[in-house]
Amino acid sequence: MTDPESAVERARQSAAARRAQGAYPEPVSTAQPEPESLVSADKLLQWALIEPDVRNVRSTRRLGAPITALKRVLLRLLSQYHDGLIAEQSRFNAHLLITVLRLQDRVEQLEQRLPREGGER
């Protein structure tokens, strides 16, 4: 019997033994790393420009194809309104982001100057 406390160690040994015999040729870890809690500037720029994918507009009901078609027709009919809305929001997002990035650069520059100025005193 394998007691629960030694089960993981036994699995490790078994995996190593089987790998030595040619099993499990895949990379040792396929797990993805946890996402960063702070979003990068590149990612923010990507998100700032809003580009809804019309393929995501659909009905999730059974036999929902006619409803999907109706929704997409409605979107097409309202495209002038939505295009204007998206353009205005994207413009605001992009300018806000650029302003934040400029401020970030200025803060970094100021931080770099601080020790030198401190030393001159």
Binding site: V8, A11, R18, P35
Partner: protein, 370 residues
């Protein structure tokens, strides 16, 4: 006593909504009144939960705030003169969700940002696990109580008599139950399962049960499953309690590789059905599963695949885990949880709570209830 429950969101298969409704049954049995309200209400639960805008809190009423996501109108709620009990269920870190469901991520980020204010302005801060309570203390709570989730396991139907699974003639079935969401790591479950199937059990099946974060994410998981283990993976959503019970009864092992859990009801449900549980020791899982689960930190999927094989085929190991699981479940018996809940509510209602002497008063009440 009048207790109004307030949820940030309510949904048909949502664990916190289910718990709030079970609390309401208990409150009714104790002769307490009040209503249940949510800022956002999903389809299918109309009538049971009312929109938050309808809340008219009598001065003597106590507000029980279930916190699991950003709650609009929280400032107004906290400024009400009523006594308030916070029950913190944890909030999924938004970082997992930005790419897949931006609006849900916003609610989660807001929920975490609201925590310090909540902690500061309620009369008593409680959480459904010690892991969650520790987060409350890190956000400024001077003292906390733990009221574990109230889980009605009987709703899932009968548990099969005798030893479940481990039959060499039976197709091994691996199960995971949880929202189809990046932080639950169903991708890693599928990758691990594909190796297990390839090297240990060619006819094995994987059941993934849970409502999807988005239709697109569910589709992504289906594509991955079709690529790595074609025809061997079932992904199911919107199951009734009876159907969910059937999935547990059909399973041989429960594999949870989730990276964030404030409690994890499915682990308890798997123990209830006598399934061996393999899980990551993250969040509240170690305190919920205790020594009744195989907790594994290894990232090597070969180790996980071998552990699956062991958990399915080693009958004495299964029997020992089953025995430990029964002991573990006793700690989360509904009557014990209900007693802790009642003590926490009564302590919140007590005018002495929140003064410098309340720590001992609340502890006395809760200890007596336990």
């Amino acid at each position: 006593m009048i207790v109004h429950q307030i949820l940030s969101g309510a949904g048909l298969h949502d664990a916190i909504t289910t718990e709030a409704l079970m609390f309401r049954e208990r409150f009714g049995a104790w002769g307490w009144g009040g209503g249940d309200f949510a800022a956002r209400i999903g389809a299918g639960i109309d009538g049971e939960i009312s929109p938050l805008t309808r809340l008219r809190a009598e001065r003597e009423a106590l507000l029980l705030l279930h916190h699991s996501a950003g709650a609009p109108g929280l400032t107004e709620l906290l400024s009400l003169p009523n006594r308030k009990l916070l029950l913190y269920h944890n909030v999924t870190p938004a970082a997992w969700l930005w790419d897949h469901a931006p609006l849900v991520a916003v609610h989660c980020a807001l929920g975490r940002a609201q925590l310090p204010e909540l902690v500061r302005r309620v009369d008593l801060a409680a959480a459904d696990s010690e892991f969650n309570a520790a987060e409350l203390r890190a956000r400024g709570a001077r003292r906390t109580e733990v009221v574990p989730l109230l889980v009605n396991r009987d709703r899932l139907g009968p548990v099969p008599a005798g030893m479940q699974g481990g039959d060499p003639t039976r197709t091994p079935t691996v199960l995971f139950v949880g929202r189809l969401s990046p932080h639950k790591r169903q991708e890693e479950v599928i990758r691990t399962f594909s190796l297990y199937r390839r090297w240990r059990a060619p006819d094995a099946r994987l059941l993934l049960v849970g409502d999807p974060l988005t239709v697109e994410y569910a589709e992504h998981l289906r594509l991955l499953a079709d690529q790595l283990a074609p025809g061997a993976v079932s992904i199911e959503s919107g199951l009734s309690d009876g159907e969910l019970g059937d999935r547990y009864r059909a399973a041989d092992v429960f594999l949870c590789l989730s990276q964030h859990e404030g409690f994890c009801i499915p682990v308890l449900e798997a123990l209830h059905f006598g399934l061996p549980v393999i899980a990551r020791p993250v969040g509240a899982i170690p305190e919920v599963a205790g020594d009744a689960a195989l907790l594994v930190e290894d990232r090597d999927p070969a180790v996980l695949a071998e552990l699956l094989h062991l958990a399915v085929t080693d009958l004495p190991l299964r029997a020992e885990l089953r025995r430990r699981g029964r002991a573990r479940l006793a700690l989360f018996a509904p009557e014990l949880v209900a007693a802790r809940l009642r003590a926490a509510v009564e302590a919140t209602a007590s005018p002495r709570t929140r003064s410098s002497s309340t720590d001992r008063d609340v502890r006395d009440v809760v200890d007596q209830a336990s």
